[in-house]
């Protein structure tokens, strides 16, 4: 079961991805993560305006079997959340890099991007 790892994103070891847009990033969970979870039935998102530190648990994704924390891959302020996940959490399964995104951050330290994995490094990481 190979996973899709888009080349234009960076990845956290805790399986979140970021898409950089100026001093902001969009955050979601990887194709590998949604496949491992399967059947996503509920997503709990942070409130807009919340300030988060890199590595801080700030969302929850629930499959039929279990609840898992989602961590902020970089530090900053939550400026938007994907409210359509409230009624359609399954978007995380069907479009993990598109309409299944979680939240958007305004970065407080854009240098943190260098600590995230490249697509190649993340691919090697999930191969074990």
């Amino acid at each position: 079961m190979t996973s899709n790892i888009p080349k234009d994103l960076r990845y956290a070891r805790s399986h979140e991805w970021v898409r950089v847009d100026g001093n902001q990033v969009i955050v979601g969970i990887s194709d590998h993560a949604q496949k491992e979870l399967t059947d996503i039935v509920f997503v709990e998102l942070p409130t807009v305006g919340r300030k988060v530190k890199a590595g801080e648990a700030c969302a929850v994704v629930e499959s039929v079997k279990t609840a898992s924390d989602v961590y902020a891959p970089m530090s900053g302020e939550v400026v938007a959340v994907n409210s359509s996940l409230g009624s359609s959490p399954g978007l995380v399964n069907t479009e993990p890099y598109g309409s299944g995104w979680f939240f958007q951050l305004r970065l407080s330290d854009p240098q943190e991007l260098e600590k995230l994995l490249t697509p190649e490094a993340y691919g090697a990481f999930i191969q074990g």
């Binding site: 399986h15 590998h32 059947d39 039935v41 509920f42 709990e44 629930e62 279990t66 898992s68």
Partner: protein, 406 residues
């Protein structure tokens, strides 16, 4: 999501919360290579490395509700009790009345301590004259066997019966779902010559067990299950279980049969409101509290736990096991979440605790089982479930949460 493991390692996403598990060596069933080949996600359960899912829990769950599913249940334990004293001895160890069993019949029953606390819940089958086969939970095999070995009913009549742990001799599969009747006889076309009971598996009634043959393999087939659907469980010598799985898979394929893992087994049993040892049942909980009084034969003269169970049956208990469903938009309830009264949710401390919970694939709503005080046990009672510090409304509903159409 730090819990996510890399692929091809046992999946830790499903945290199995059975506190007593501390096995250093994880056992594999005779079907391990089939699961690995099928790309199943594997987890540890009751000391066994078991498939938690193949295609996905919801897909497998719905396959069992609408068509048919095939489960590896080789982790379950088998304890054999035979001899002239077996019936009387078992009737002192178990809560249901073994005197009611004829050859070829089984019953659900429980084994209790003097306190009424449950050692295990199990099935007992009378497979021949004075010959009983007990099917017990994987995580309780050693506890059950030790408990039975030191039971006074045994030491009172040594030599009148034999007690053997045959768990490693047997493998087992469960074939469950509304379409199973269409193909079960093709899988096992022949009754063992001389065996008692119906000629074909499809002619057996609920809880019956019979001896059948597939090619050269002799199997025990019972009309039982843990899914809330019609179905069968097939017990075979461990060395033959692989051939049985492949035979059933081959015949059932045309009828929509697909493999199903422990994840779907758990959501299916929860919709059907069957208890799971370690969740709804443990040594601190009695069958009366668990709502299993119909499997406690209080008319029997003496059995372990009778005094406490008779008193609870007459006078009531301080808690009861209920089924509930979430009434608004909410995360799925999970085991160990605290419960408050829906009448006065702000009052601390909590009145109860969730023992099992999930997002129901059939009902599309959060469901669960829980222990709450007696004044909150009636269907319609309002509860508030504490999920990560927020209260979400739920209501007690009649068991089962899901029942198949007759």
């Amino acid at each position: 999501m730090k819990d996510l493991p890399p692929p091809r390692r046992p999946c830790r996403l499903w945290r199995v919360d059975e506190p007593e598990i501390a096995h250093s060596i994880v056992k594999r069933t005779p079907l391990y290579s089939v699961h690995a080949r099928a790309g199943a996600k594997l987890i540890e359960f009751g000391g066994w490395e078991m498939p938690v899912q193949y295609s996905g829990i919801v897909d497998e769950h719905l396959a069992v509700r609408r068509g048919a599913g095939l489960f590896d249940i080789s982790h379950m334990g088998q304890i054999r009790v035979n001899g002239p004293g077996a019936q009387a001895c078992l009737n002192r160890m178990l809560t249901n009345d073994t005197a009611k069993l004829e050859v070829g019949k089984g019953q659900y029953t429980l084994m209790c301590r003097e306190t009424g606390g449950v050692v295990d819940d199990l099935y007992v089958f009378l497979i021949g004259p004075e010959d009983y086969l007990l099917i017990v939970n994987a995580s309780r095999i050693e506890a059950d066997f030790d408990w039975m070995r030191q039971h006074p009913a045994l030491s009172a009549n040594p030599g009148s019966m034999q007690l053997r742990n045959e768990s490693s001799d047997w493998g087992a599969v469960a074939i469950q779902g509304p379409r199973v009747l269409e193909f079960i006889d093709r899988c096992f076309p022949e009754k063992t010559p001389g065996a008692t009971g119906p000629e074909r598996p499809s002619l057996m009634r609920k809880n019956q067990i019979g001896r059948f043959r597939a090619d050269t393999t002799e199997v025990w087939i019972s009309r039982t299950g843990y899914t809330g659907e019609d179905g069968f469980e097939v017990l075979s010598p461990a060395a033959e279980t692989m051939a049985i799985w492949e035979r059933v898979s081959g015949v059932g394929h045309a009828f929509g049969l697909q493999p199903a893992g422990l994840g779907a087994r758990d959501t299916l049993r929860l919709e059907a409101c069957y208890p799971l040892y370690g969740h709804e049942l443990d040594e601190q909980t009695t069958p009366i509290e668990a709502g299993l009084g119909r499997f406690v034969a209080l008319h029997k003269p003496d059995f372990t736990g009778r005094e406490v169970l008779a008193r609870q049956s007459a006078e009531g208990t301080s808690k009861g096991c209920v089924a509930f469903r979430m009434t608004g938009k909410a995360p799925p309830p999970r085991a160990h979440y605290p419960i408050h009264s829906g009448r006065s949710p702000e009052v601390a401390p909590p009145i109860g605790i969730v023992t099992s919970g999930t997002a129901s694939p059939t009902l599309n709503v959060g469901i669960g089982m829980a222990y709450v005080p007696p004044d909150h046990c009636q269907p319609g009672c309002l509860l508030a479930i504490d999920i990560r510090g927020r209260l979400y409304p739920a209501e007690v509903v009649a068991k089962p949460l899901y029942g198949r159409k007759p």
